[in-house]
């Protein structure tokens, strides 16, 4: 009896181990990301309530840093830029990505080559994109000079150095970089639409425009949502593109919250205020992500 008990125990342990194995494997990664992501988010939030300057201090100072942040004109410039850049960037990428995807979906020749060409900018880092566009848009080097060289002496394209227009150069470069990726998302979505439905629509006498607007696009709802989520977080955390393209200039006309935070944390020795701006950015992302996650989870339960 006792022998058979012993034999029965070993596989029991093994089976229990097997049941726990995924958790055991995952837990170090979980612990690491918990520490390096969530603990540091907590630390940043704490620091934003202190008078920290060059080095962190841990004495609480209430909402002082937030009051200073919201009294700083540069922060408003950064926020306004975020809305201008974010809005145009997201809409631009969606429209161009969708149009490209629909055109590519027409069973054209050399689709593979074209798809790669449009997707290729995604393979570049934002630094490369920014630097290349900096040269293209520089009035003394790029488009303006080429136009002058061709004889159009009055041609003027100085957005890069015009404080009112500089933010739009970032939009241009951003859309160039990311619309190919959105195209790929939409293309995958379009391919998953059942051919039968489109054929049925054609039999009912719907033209191509009507078919897309009335039938295909509504079916791409989830793709739209994912694309918007991805583009939103790209926009909010944009940093390298601005640094490479305009360096935040002219003046600080193209500051975004991310570059604002960097400037305050690393150039100005104002850890506290930088932390406060980081918390504001986190809050912005949360305002978008939480409803999304909520709808996703609810969708999962259904």
């Amino acid at each position: 009896m006792s022998a058979s008990d012993g034999r029965g125990g070993a596989p029991g342990l093994g089976r229990r181990l097997e049941a726990w194995l995924p958790q055991i494997v995952v837990s170090p990664i979980f612990a690491l990301s918990f520490f390096f992501v969530y603990c540091f988010i907590g630390w940043t939030i704490y620091i934003s309530f202190t008078k920290s300057r060059m080095l962190p201090v841990y004495e609480l100072a209430g909402l002082l840093q937030y009051e200073r942040l919201w009294a700083t004109p540069r922060w408003y410039v950064a926020l306004e830029n975020l809305f201008v850049f974010g809005g145009l960037f997201i809409v631009g990428c969606l429209v161009i990505g969708l149009v490209l995807a629909i055109l590519l979906d027409q069973r054209i020749r050399a689709e593979g080559v074209l798809r790669t060409i449009y997707l290729y900018p995604m393979a570049l880092s934002f630094i490369v994109t920014g630097t290349a566009w900096k040269w293209i848009l520089n009035p003394g080097l790029g488009i303006e000079r080429v136009a002058h060289g061709l004889g159009f002496e009055n041609f003027k394209f100085d957005w890069l150095i015009n404080p009112d227009m500089a933010i739009y150069t970032i939009v241009i470069a951003g859309i160039w970089q990311s619309s190919g990726y959105v195209m790929a998302l939409f293309l995958a979505g379009l391919r998953s639409v059942d051919d039968e439905i489109i054929k049925a629509a054609a039999i009912d006498g719907a033209g191509p425009l009507r078919t897309y607007a009335g039938i295909v696009l509504p079916m791409l709802g989830p793709v739209f949502l994912s694309a918007i989520i991805i583009l939103t977080h790209l926009a909010v955390k944009s940093f390298d593109l601005v640094i490479a393209l305009t360096g935040g200039g002219p003046g600080y006309a193209t500051d975004l919250p991310a570059t604002f935070m960097y400037a305050y944390a690393f150039q100005r020795s104002e850890l506290g205020m930088a932390a406060a701006s980081a918390v504001m950015m986190l809050a912005t992302i949360m305002a978008i992500m939480v409803p999304y996650l909520y709808s996703e989870l609810r969708g999962g339960n259904r």
Partner: protein
Amino acid sequence: MGFRKIASTLAVASALALPAGLAEAAGTVEVLHWWTSGGEAKAVGELKKAFEAQGGKWVDSPIAGGGGDAAMTALRARVVAGDPPTAVQLKGPGIQEWAEQGVLADVQDVAEQEKWDDKLPKVLAGIMKYDGNYVAAPVNIHRVDWIWANPAVLAKVGAQMPTTWDEFNATADKLKAAGITPLAHGGQPWQDATLFEVIALGVGGPEFYKKALVELDQDALSGDTMVKVFDQLRKLRGYVDPNFSGRDWNLATAMVMRGEAAFQIMGDWAKGEFLAAGKVPGKDFLCAAAPGKGFILNSDSLVFFKVSDKDEQEGQKVLASLTMSPDFQKSFNLAKGSIPANTTVPLDDFDECAKKSKEDLQQAIAADSLVPSMAHEMAVSRTVRGEFMDLVTNFFNSDMSSQDAAKNLAAAVKRGQQL
């Protein structure tokens, strides 16, 4: 070990006349700095050579990028981790900020032995001290308020080097009419702020400068003189070429060299660029003090951090002594374009511009018109400096009125002082 000691003693005895007590063990130093561009790298190479000539071990930690921002980030991380470098290139009120954290080591005994107080201008000595003790050694004195000019370009419109801002404006208008860019400038916040402070001294005078840019007096910041300063800055905005945005200062200097622009208003590190390109002062380029009375001081220094290693503590003392030694101050400043911080060093081998700088420095000390640079972190904390730069650069790149600028400046500085 013994051999090394003998070798180092011999090297010192033969080459450098240094106090024997400091020379016998040269120790190790790790120096964190961002002297990485051409002339600067050469200059710091002189210090390394001199230190190694004494048998010491030099660990070089150059961290390029962002005008020292990257180096500051590295320094912060290392101090927090309890492993600071032996000496760091730091300056101005930044020294006090670190000293307040209790992480600096003083080199007062070396300073007393070598009588640094008698060798340094008082304004500069004050910046090097914390609680009355030296925690840093200055390597040079840069003058910020210089105008550099290309004589061939000036000759084209028959102009001389201007001595007042009105003359400057008149010459610039002539140049502009002749199709030449009057002012080579790079649209980076610190360069805009450099123009601003040079005008503040020139238009407002040293008393105003001290009140507004050092003591941060609210009335001076928002007053009529400040409005005039912004008016002149607005004039300069009209004299730069359209592509100035984001340009590095040395590219602006190159524009003057090539005759594409007539003037540059920039500290004497610009001279290093001219000299490195083989240009001769007085012939290929001219240097003159910017209109106005006074001398805007900028100075690099090595700051000593508390280290526990005996060897490094030794090295620290040797480095402090070496930094102030006439031989090093001479070779470093010849390479960098500045003048020695140690005012007892003779300037025989220096060029005309440097000699003029020294002369003006002594006059400024006598007339109490030597002022620390705001744009170059000598006068105010990084926080307040940041507020200055934001406002000035915003003014330079927009059509803000001078009245608004002065008013906003006072508010911005107040915000910066809240901490």
